[in-house]
Amino acid sequence: MSVAAPQALDRGAVPWLFATALIATAPHFFHQPEWLTGLALLIFGWGGWLWWRGLRLPGRWWLVALVVASCAGIVLQFRSLFGREAGLALLVVFTAMKLLELRSRRDAAVVTVLGYFLLLTHYFHSQSILTGAWLFAASLIVTATLIRLHGGPNSRLLPTLRYAALLTVQAVPFMLVLYLLFPRIGGPLWGLPQDAYNGRTGLSGSMSPGSIANLAQNGDIAFRARFESTPPSRGRLYWRGPVLEEFDGQTWKAMDALALARPDISGQDPPLRYAVTLEPHNQRWLLALDAPSTWPADSRLLANLTLLGNRPITQRQRIELTTTLDYRFNVQESGTTLQRALRLPAGRNPRAQALGQSWRETIVDPGSRVEQALTLFRTGNFVYTLTPPLLAGDTMDEFLFGTRRGFCEHYAAAFVVLMRAAGVPARVITGYQGGELNPLDGYLVVRQSDAHAWAEVWLAGQGWVRVDPTAAIAPTRIESGLAEAMPGSDALPALVALRQDWLRSLRFRWEALNNGWNQWILGYNPERQRELMGRLGLPDADWQTLAKWLFGACGLVLLLVSAWTLAHRPRLDPAQRLWRRASARLGRRGIDCPEWMPPLAVLARVEAGQPALAPAFRSFVEHYLACRYGPGPTNLKALRRALAALP
């Protein structure tokens, strides 16, 4: 068996291959160690320079050395050549290196296949709209490269791109069918996007001065909520997160041991129904408005009103909730809980403790002690600021009697310390306050910058009552949001501080789009698929049924496309059809007659190649020419007879 010589690659195809390799690897540059990105870019640059100057590609030993060096680097970095990150790094570097050995069309084909494969790997890192758009454009470029490779040096840029776009558009129906009908498995197909786990900001189970102010500078979305009726006013939107009861003089912590008793809630108004779509925050708590009256089955409500899921939230999750906004909560509270809510570390913050104790001695009614503390905040020259001075040592003393500048966590913590010293059971609540209604899709968007800390005191006969000391200092923070409360502050994230209307509406649009993407594309899980199938009249479709429908639908699309193609096929003249048949017969006898070859030239070929066939074919050609090109009436019968006479 002989091996065909590899077909040389034409020079004009090389930029296409560079574009393919670059667009397919580029998003990985943001996730890889810098040296890997640098190495890949260096190789790209080297290959590009060699192409530009028309120089020889590097020899085999260069490539071997590069492979060894990059493998060694990857092993050092990832402690392995296998696994996801190391494998991706290898793919990226090897794709770049393939550009150093572009000699034949086979090499070019390898680059395009690698390109298609690399496109899939980006979903490991992100599944956002931008990633989707980038990969769509990238697949277009890779397809265009493939077309260019087959089109040869004469193909032009625009027609090649147009053809690639046409192919992509034709693939869309199949894509939709596959997306909707391919049996879904729980969780995304590629495992989780990495950003679900790492570097997530959000509430933690503890709070110290400055921790929420840091969060306030983060414009990421924490969750979205959608109310079935009109959303309540902004001042009532307290989304409860972890309840912090333990204080060591510096840091507030949530309880380790969970109180398993069920809270006792008595609601006084009709419950409010809404759904929350939580961004992954890698913790177990869910965020609900006080006080929840129904919650999902795989979560439970703790005695301190924290809603806890069974597992950490590592992927975007939608939960349905109802809440009573006017409520009484644990009017009968257990003694241990009240004891805990009065505990202060001995010897810390002595001035604050002394102030609280003086209230306890002079003011009889606990409710008036609360009022006294809020009056202190209102009238004591306190300033609400995102950039409070650093506190050390007895932080609450320093804040209350020294700096008097703080963010919500300072006020909540100082308030609770004062209350506990004054003998009023109190605790810190962290969570989110407010949110921004997107008028386009009706979703309320709550960001990390809406993170907030407030307090809760227990009063006899009333149970736990929410007190927000921040409202005493900066009422606008609660009524209108952080941006209004902090005019001109450049510490706020740009997205939160937007004041221009058109920018705001642009942002609303983008977020509505993102939300739609999350809800409908990424959130298309087994439940949604089942729901859709149910609506299509296929309730309880198992994967076999889905597979049948999948193949059926793909077949239907193919059938429609072929029917359309057949219907739009150019109609052949009967004489010409007979000519095609004769050509096919000649083809079987080894005489090639392409469509551009005129009849007499074909006849000359037959006379030279198959003299035995010549007389019959000559008679056929005579009839054919008379029928198709002659001035007289067409005699198809004679032509058919002549064709039949062809051996």
């Binding site: 032009r156 070859m597 005129p598 009849p599 007499l600 090109y629």
Partner: protein, 311 residues
Amino acid sequence: MPVFSVSRDHPLAPLIAAANQVILGKEREIRLALACLFAGGHLLIEDLPGVGKTTLAQTLAALLGLRYHRIQFTSDLLPADITGVSLYQRETGDFRFLPGPIFAQLILADEINRATPKTQSALLEAMEEGQVTAEGETRPLPQPFFVIATQNPAHQIGTFPLPESQLDRFLVRLELGYPDREAELALLASGGQRTRAASLTPLLQPADIPVLRQATATLHAAPPLLAYVQALVEATRRQTGFLHGLSPRAGLGLLAVARAWAWLEGRDMVLPDDVQAVLPAVACHRLRSAQGGGHATPEDIGALIRSVPIP
């Protein structure tokens, strides 16, 4: 039904045979030249000096029985040298027009690209209009009026290459090329053919030519054939190999020459074979190759033909 070539019985068979005796081994070129004449166009022969351009022109003139003038184009030739001048008559005291050499039925414009553009355009205007305007008076040219121009390849020293617009006035451009071995041996043995060309006797009368032109112009061209001509012309506009495509006038010319070719083959219909046979001669000088910008070569046209399926 005459589908295949019936050269032996063709009325022009003796003429072609006689021309073939003089221009050895160039029957295809002779046929193309005749096809051009019967299609009503003018002929440009482009080749190196000494391959028989002038002999071909002389032979055709002699055999067709046309009144023949030869104009040798040089760089100092003036328009009036072609069209004629008015001279003062001492006896009568007025001016009398002396017609120039263009007043003939067949003009051999030898080495047309050695003349200045001004002189070239005088000839080309006459070719287009069929009349000459000299000193404010328009005079018709005799009929038939057929110009055979020869030119040396443009890269030779001392030439003014014809611009595109003027090249387009020539329906057919031929390259004669070197004779093959047998023809060259025969040529060497006979000691040159130009003397034989002068001794030829006419085989046609000038009055025959309009009749023959009429016969070719009405030859049957079926709709599929017209579609093929259109597809070819359109392909030159769509394909990337050429700078710009063929004009509609070129398409009409292609069909006319194909008709004449088919008529010379003795057919009563035009076939795709005829179109393909004449396409290089009609299209090469009207197309510029996208690579290099020079005129399209017969290989380019071959590639064009292979890219257009016959409808």
